[in-house]
């Protein structure tokens, strides 16, 4: 069974089916989209099972490997003259990301149940977008990776520009332009990697065999890292994210903050650190410092926000900072923490944006001071908000804690070539964010959901509908499962990370 | 006076006439006069065709171009007359640009011309034979023109349909009374 291809093709096929439905039948369109994404969730689950079957015997080998072994591989020549191939497959990290994306898109479709305006185009574009995301996660040919990366970025422009709110055109433009700059950097990096390895192949597994010249790595690494960092909201290239998230429709925010921003961390880890260990060694500390700024800056920025979406967007900046911080700390704990944080933040922020969309759909405002006392009116939504908030501030038992604990330990343990005083200081500074996060989460949610009911009209609003309960309930369940049984996720993502870390550990100690 | 000399003299007569009329086409402030001058230029061109030995072409030129197209243009001029454009006098800047471009083009042409060897008409030209032209137009062979011919007919049809479609929207009754209409 070509699992990897199925993962990519299924959403695309669903998009085509959606396009074939007459535009007037919005209800049918929704059901098609839901069925398609539901089937995808199922297929992703089966694929995980297949991966698990294939990968478990290699678990011991993986601990000492220096190259990631792929599973469920499909390889077809595409442009043989340039060494471009259709090479798809999975490893633990990409499997985890595929599962996350499946879940988020499924819940995103559920959360978009109310979309009426041009529903057909909306769902088709959404599915196209997610096709790109899945493509990125399963492709192991850099060129194919880039193609999918662009597919993932571009529909965003239309989705925000057409179905967004507020200053949507500006936000869409800004987002697209900044991400394009990022992908230009990535392309430069990819071409450099391809060219330096002889210009024969874009195959990641083969490029990983090649030892790049440290001088080349020294300049390619920051290019690639910043290129991916733009999507991963690396300070100071994060400013597209608050505007973009605030303007995007619910499902797009969910997908974007939940999954698309993870492409940044994924790429930085998979391409940046993995292919360019010496570059990572040279630049690790710099990027740790920059992402520490990210973490605190996003958290402090969130305190002053009055729009729920800006609030969540700044908190995303902070949380995505953890991802890149983990990547930049260049050790197993950090890398694992980064991947766990990707999953955790993906679910959490998708939950947040889904809930914000639901609250906005009822109150028609996202301004926190205009809300108030909603906990009395919509207990389900408030409860889910608080669970998400608790995950966000790293409450143990929810997924955020596991990830942040890894990232902090990773930063604190540091690596062989950086003087520990730097990494530890940065880590301790970064831990301050747990307090700041508590402050802004409790302030924001308290103002919106606690206290007396602010507007008497709110008393007539109803709580979540069945689809909304299903969507948010699934995400909450994912947060809880990932938090209570972190071993499941760790077992999945750990083996391929050994390869990344073993390459780093094999480096001659720098400085 | 030999036929050669006569032809040469006729050529120069028509050339002078043609150029001066052309000057009027582009330079006359009153568009209607320019249109009439264009008619003259095209007439001269018919004479040129004749001098070159293309009798059929000359006839077509008179019939279609002068008699059809330019008449349309005259109508057009009259249909779109406005007070503001009654005198189409170029501004100095436009005039300069026009002169530079036209002269520049002419000079470039002259340069190209200088690289060509001169030649004269050698004898009767086949193009004078209407049947030959007809055959070439309907020839499906490698030297034939049947495809362009058909394409041009489609083009004409399209232009016809398009012209009707575009102009159909004009609801003359609904037009606001325009002071310019009587200029």
């Amino acid at each position: 069974m070509p699992w990897a291809t199925a993962i990519v093709v299924l959403p695309l096929a669903t998009a085509l089916v959606v396009l074939a439905v007459p535009a007037g039948r919005a209800h049918l369109i929704r059901w098609v989209a839901l069925a398609g994404t539901g089937a995808h969730l199922f297929v992703a689950g089966l694929a995980t099972w297949a991966y698990w079957q294939a990968a478990t015997p290699d678990a011991a080998v993986a601990r000492t490997a220096t190259t990631t072994k792929l599973y469920l591989v499909e390889r077809h020549s595409w442009f043989p003259s340039l060494g471009i191939a259709y090479l798809v497959g999975v490893d633990g990290v990409s499997m985890a990301m595929v599962l996350l994306t499946s879940l988020v898109i499924f819940c995103g479709v559920l959360a978009s149940w109310q979309v009426q305006d041009r529903a057909k185009e909306f769902f088709a574009l959404l599915l196209l977008l997610v096709t790109g995301v899945f493509g990125v996660f399963v492709s192991f040919d850099l060129f194919l990776f880039f193609v999918f990366y662009e597919i993932a970025v571009l529909p965003m422009y239309l989705l925000i520009g057409i179905w967004g709110t507020g200053r949507k055109e500006m936000a869409a433009m800004k987002l697209t332009l900044m991400l394009m700059v990022g992908s230009a950097l990535i392309l430069v990096g990819f071409l450099a990697l391809w060219w330096a390895a002889g210009g024969k192949t874009f195959d990641l597994t083969q490029l990983a065999q090649f030892r790049y010249d440290p001088a080349l790595q020294h300049w390619v690494f920051p290019v690639v890292f910043i290129g991916f960092g733009v999507l991963g909201a690396l300070y100071p290239f994060h400013t597209w994210s608050p505007d973009g998230h605030a303007s995007a429709p619910t499902a797009v925010s969910m997908l974007h903050a939940g999954v698309l921003m993870k492409l940044g961390g994924y790429g930085a880890l998979r391409i940046g650190v993995y292919l360019l260990p010496e570059g990572a060694r040279d630049w690790g500390l710099f990027f740790m410092a920059l992402t520490t700024v990210n973490i605190l800056y996003g958290a402090f920025g969130a305190i002053r926000q009055t729009d729920l979406k800006y609030f969540t967007a700044y908190s995303s900046v902070s949380h995505c900072g953890f991802v890149l911080f983990g990547v930049a700390s260049c050790n197993l704990l950090g890398a694992k923490g980064a991947v766990l944080q990707m999953v955790s933040h993906g679910v959490m922020t998708a939950l947040f944006f889904a809930l914000i969309g639901m609250v906005y759909g009822r109150t028609h405002t996202r301004t926190i001071p205009e809300l108030g006392g909603l906990g009395r009116v919509m207990p389900w939504l408030a409860t889910c908000f608080y669970i998400g908030g608790m995950a966000s501030l790293g409450l143990p038992g929810l997924s955020g804690f596991v990830a942040e604990a890894h990232v902090f330990l990773g930063g604190f343990f540091g690596n062989a070539w950086t003087p520990p005083v730097y990494t530890r200081t940065l880590t301790i500074v970064a831990t301050l964010s747990v307090v700041v996060t508590a402050v802004y989460v409790l302030r924001g949610l308290g103002a919106a959901f606690q206290g007396p009911v602010r507007d008497p009209h709110y008393l007539h609003l109803n709580d979540a509908t069945l689809t909304e309960r299903l969507s948010t309930g699934l995400l909450v369940a994912a947060l809880v499962v990932a938090g209570v049984l972190p071993g499941l996720l760790i077992d999945l993502v750990e083996p391929p990370l050994f390869a990344v870390v073993n390459r780093l550990n094999a480096l001659p100690g720098g400085l | 006076m030999s036929a050669e000399t006569l032809r040469s003299a006729l050529f120069w007569v028509f050339a002078t006439l043609s150029l001066s009329l052309a000057w009027s086409v582009v330079g006359n402030r009153r568009l209607l006069r320019a249109a009439v001058a264009l008619m003259g230029v095209l007439g001269c061109s018919a004479a040129f065709y004749a001098l070159l030995g293309f009798g059929f072409l000359a006839g077509i030129q008179i019939l279609v171009y002068v008699g059809g197209i330019v008449v349309l243009l005259v109508f057009l001029v009259m249909l779109t007359r406005t007070q503001a454009l009654l005198e189409d006098e170029p501004t100095p800047w436009r005039h300069k640009v026009g002169v530079v471009a036209a002269v520049g083009f002419f000079v470039v042409n002259l340069w190209a011309l200088a690289s060509l060897p001169d030649a004269a008409v050698q004898g009767p030209v086949l193009g004078g034979d209407t049947r030959a032209i007809g055959r070439a137009l309907l020839d499906a062979g490698p030297q034939g023109y049947v495809l362009p011919f058909e394409a041009v007919s489609v083009l004409l049809l399209a232009a016809l349909v398009g012209g009707i479609a575009v102009a159909r929207k004009v609801d003359v009754a609904a037009l606001p009374p325009a002071e310019a209409n009587h200029g």
């Binding site: - | 582009v26 197209i69 503001a84 042409n109 070439a136 362009p148």
Partner: protein, 117 residues
């Protein structure tokens, strides 16, 4: 008189000189006229000059063939099509804008709104 229809009296250079001059005059008109119809007239001048030049080359360089003549015919046909479309456009334009002054036709997307700006 019939003889006149069989051969040209002047050389290639003289012919081309005249057609080039005609074409150049057309360019001048093309660039200076404000009236769209005037531009169309100038364009006819250019087209006609080109058509004549086809005929000239045909007669003087390849008298055994008819390609130039055919091209000249095509030019006439294309000119007819062009005038038809141009006429339709300009009449419509005039009905909406009350002018065919090309300098007032700026592409700011408001053309369809109708009425003079």
């Amino acid at each position: 008189m019939a003889e006149l229809l069989h051969a040209g009296g002047s050389g290639l250079h003289a012919w081309l000189l005249v057609t080039s001059a005609l074409f150049s005059l057309g360019i001048y008109g093309l660039l200076t006229r404000r009236n769209a119809v005037g531009i169309l007239l100038s364009l006819e001048l250019c087209l006609n000059a080109a058509a004549v030049q086809f005929a000239v080359f045909n007669a003087l360089r390849a008298p055994g063939r008819v390609d130039g003549a055919v091209m000249a015919l095509f030019v006439v046909a294309v000119a007819a099509a062009e005038v038809v479309v141009g006429m339709a456009l300009f009449v419509l334009l005039y009905s909406q804008r009350r002018t065919v002054d090309v300098t007032e036709l700026t592409g700011d997307g408001r053309d369809s709104a109708g009425g003079p700006p």
